[in-house]
Amino acid sequence: MTSLISDEPRRADLSTRLKNNGGLVALAVILIFNIVVTPNFLQAQTLAVNISQVATIAIVAMGMTLVIATGGIDLSVGAVMALSGALAPLIFQSELGTAYPVLGLVASLFLPLVAALACGLFNGTIIAVLKVQPIIATLILFISGRGIAQVLTNGNLQTFSNPEFSYLGTGKILGFPFQGWLAIAIAIFLFWLVNRTIFGRYLLAIGGNERAAKLSGGPVRKVKIGAYVICSILSGLAGLIVVAINSASDAARNGNLMELDAIAAAVVGGALLQGGKAPIFGAILGAVIIQLVKYTLLANGVEDEVALIAKAAIILAAVYIQQARKE
């Protein structure tokens, strides 16, 4: 009986899980390749650049992982980034914001996330209550979310100088970029959420078999809406980070094509598109792989465009392997 309660089978799972995880192998290959081939790869500067760039993808990809775990998809993440990124400078550069800088700073961090939350609520409600397919439901904000951001800023590039706000994208703790720490903290929190809480258990159950989860008393609507809200808030945060890195907000470009990167990272990280799995650290791994492939190609003189094709190949390969293993 004790063997049933002990953790023994879990440990056995871990080795098979490692064996199954081609992602880690791929990461190792890319790292070794870079160390050998790419000049200056092992310098702190390179590391910092890569981390600051990968953090935004990773943060959005983790949110996307939760949504994919319910069997859904969120196309609006890039638009939400643009929206929250457009709001922040508007707030701290407003009259009130300049008169009370501290208040302005707090509001410019807080209110955009509230707006993002509202976007998630909108997506989640249409999907969970009106039962519209996720691709279509999130298409609405995909189209109009960026439009709203551009209307708010009149399509202008907003530049600013606000060191406190920019700390979000340029600050360092122990030599490690602030947003890197942030991504790790979020990952730990989400890992706890998925694996230890009742919300997480229902999340995976709904993705695994929605009808069964519902008939077992699962709060399907709440959990689904919750997943989309979390995804949107994380996208909003990523939008703020991008603006902070650049000390400028461009509603047309902030988060452009981010939905593709995020989906790719989640899938490469092991998220099943039909739902039921939420590998949070897998999403980070996926984001790192995608970023490193991009960096490797650029650093070795391969054109940006070819990197796109490489990204396409990675997505196809990852999903194909996933499918093949299932059958």
């Binding site: 009986m1 063997s3 049933l4 309660i5 023994e8 089978p9 879990r10 799972d13 230890r196 809480t197 009742i198 258990r201 229902y202 995976l204 159950a205 695994g208 078999n209 009808r211 069964a212 989860a213 519902k214 008939l215 077992s216 008393g217 699962g218 709060p219 099943l272 039921g276 799995k277």
Partner: protein
């Protein structure tokens, strides 16, 4: 006469587990041939090999004397084999005509579909069956019975030599069954063979010529239907001695005829829609009440209304003396009801999740501690149930999809027992599980009731209902039409009650 179809020594494995071991089947032209066996005996695997959906691992098939190597449903269709599956293999969104002619549309100029001709041909075939409907309307707008007959019309239009019918009457009422039988006889008289798969043994004696019985992936035997009895067939399916069954009974549910006093649930004239229009029943502590009726009589709908899946449009329910109207399943669970659904795969298990996570799914709110799942309590609870119910699993973190059907069902039963419900609604609790697991599940149900709880039992197997239930509420067309009480619950009485209302209903 040379057989139309001869299959011999058919073998098939799934992931190393044999599903068929030397099965054989022989059908003559113009013969109506029954294929019976318990769930998991290999009937559907055999049919799927015949229709090219699965590839056989061994054995010979010959069709009209020629060796046959069909590899797809399309080839089977071209070879004159048409199949009407239990889950209708039609497209509800498309028109009746399309569903009949798809794949062999009449054309003009070899390119354009000749729609008037397609409609005419469809109308003509359906008219032979005595059906006159708008063939341009979407198939999904018609009843299941019509859809079933459309599927047969499709087979006829394809000039099939062999029509396979998989549980064709399971969702038909008795008048529709008569129409179907008429169609089967018409097929027979025009020289078409029919392979008739059914759980309803009485039907076989009405229309079949011969019967083949399967058990554990093997063919037990083939005999003329006129030279056999129902008891013989049941004995052959179960692999037991006919006399033994007559004395011992078939299930583990028997016993417990005490009188019941404390009413735990009272349902008064509830309705949720067209399929549950006026339903009343009472349930006492310590009692098993069976819901009897044919498929489509509203049994499952009654269960869904009690569990808050479908909302009441009229009537009221009283649970333990208080008015009861669950808004959703979680409200019903909180009120002390559990519902084991009939479709284990679609509505029961979460395949990726472990035995542990599946078992505690309905109990999660009670396992909350500091916002987390209390993992220690969870593991102890799950270990307890695995031992108590004899669930065969390598460890509690094994994915549930790797378990056998019977063990999956035990986990789902444990899911509900763990919530300590006052009332358990069991919809076909032993469907698709092997005989051993079936008996174990039945004795679990019995001991649950003996602890003073109550069970509403839905089962298509009359034996299970008759031997298990203290009372049987007989349903027909969404109503509770009569009630059988012990003593006096016998299979004959139940069949009579059903038959009576079938007649009265017309």
């Amino acid at each position: 006469m040379a057989p139309l179809l001869a299959m011999s020594g058919i073998a098939k494995h799934f992931a190393g587990i044999p599903a068929l071991r030397g099965a054989s089947l022989e059908i003559s032209p113009g013969e109506v041939h029954a294929l019976i066996g318990q769930n998991g005996a290999g009937k559907s695997t055999l049919i799927k090999i015949l229709t090219g959906l699965y590839r056989r691992d061994g054995g010979e098939i010959s069709l009209a004397g020629e060796p046959s190597h069909l590899t797809s449903p399309r080839e089977a269709q071209q070879a004159g084999i048409a199949t009407i599956y239990q889950e209708l293999n039609l497209v509800p969104l498309r028109s009746v005509s399309e569903n009949v002619v798809m794949g062999q549309e009449p054309r003009t100029l070899g390119l354009m579909i000749n729609w008037p001709e397609a409609h005419r041909r469809t109308r003509e075939i359906l008219a032979r069956f005595g059906i006159d409907i708008d063939v341009t309307a979407p198939l999904g707008s018609f009843s299941t019975a019509i859809q079933q007959l459309v599927a047969i019309a499709r087979a006829v239009s394809m000039d099939a030599k062999l029509v396979i019918m998989d549980e064709p009457t399971s969702s038909l009422d008795s008048s529709e069954v008569e129409i179907l039988f008429g169609v089967v006889r018409e097929l027979k008289s025009s020289g078409v063979s029919v392979l008739y798969v059914s759980h309803f043994l009485d039907e076989l004696f009405q229309i079949c010529d011969r019967v083949t019985v399967m058990r554990d992936g093997q063919t037990v035997g083939s005999r003329s239907i006129s030279g056999t009895t129902k008891l013989d067939l049941i004995a052959a399916m179960l692999g037991r001695n006919a006399d033994e069954i007559a004395t011992e009974g078939l299930t583990e549910l028997s016993g417990g005829d005490a009188s019941f006093e404390e009413v735990v649930l009272d349902v008064e004239r509830t309705a949720t829609g067209p399929r549950l229009s006026d339903f009343s029943m009472t349930l006492h502590r310590g009692e098993i009440v069976g819901l009897g009726g044919l498929l489509g009589s509203g049994r499952t709908e009654a269960a869904r209304s009690l569990f808050g899946v479908d909302q009441l449009t009229q009537g009221q329910m009283t649970l333990k003396g208080a008015a009861f109207r669950p808004a959703d399943p979680s409200a019903a669970i909180r009120a002390g009801i559990g519902f084991l659904t009939e479709d284990r795969k679609e509505e029961g298990i979460i395949p990726h999740m472990s035995v542990r996570e599946n078992l505690t799914l309905a109990l999660l709110p009670a396992l909350r501690r500091n916002g987390q799942v209390d993992r220690q309590a969870e593991r102890e609870l799950v270990a307890g149930f695995i031992a108590k119910l004899g669930i065969k699993t390598a460890h509690m973190d094994q994915p549930i999809r790797e378990l056998s059907g019977g063990n999956q069902q035990k986990v789902l039963l444990a899911r509900w027992l763990a919530t300590r419900p006052d009332i358990l609604i069991l919809d076909e609790p032993t469907r698709g599980v092997d005989v051993g697991a079936k008996r174990e599940i039945q004795s679990i149900i019995r001991s649950f009731v003996d602890e003073g709880h109550a069970v509403i039992l839905i089962s298509s197997e009359f034996e299970e209902l008759v031997e298990g239930a203290n009372r049987i509420v007989v349903m027909h067309e969404g109503h509770a039409v009569s009630e059988l009480t012990n003593p006096g619950i016998t299979e004959n009485a139940l069949v009579k009650a059903l038959a009576h209302h079938e007649e009265a209903g017309r």
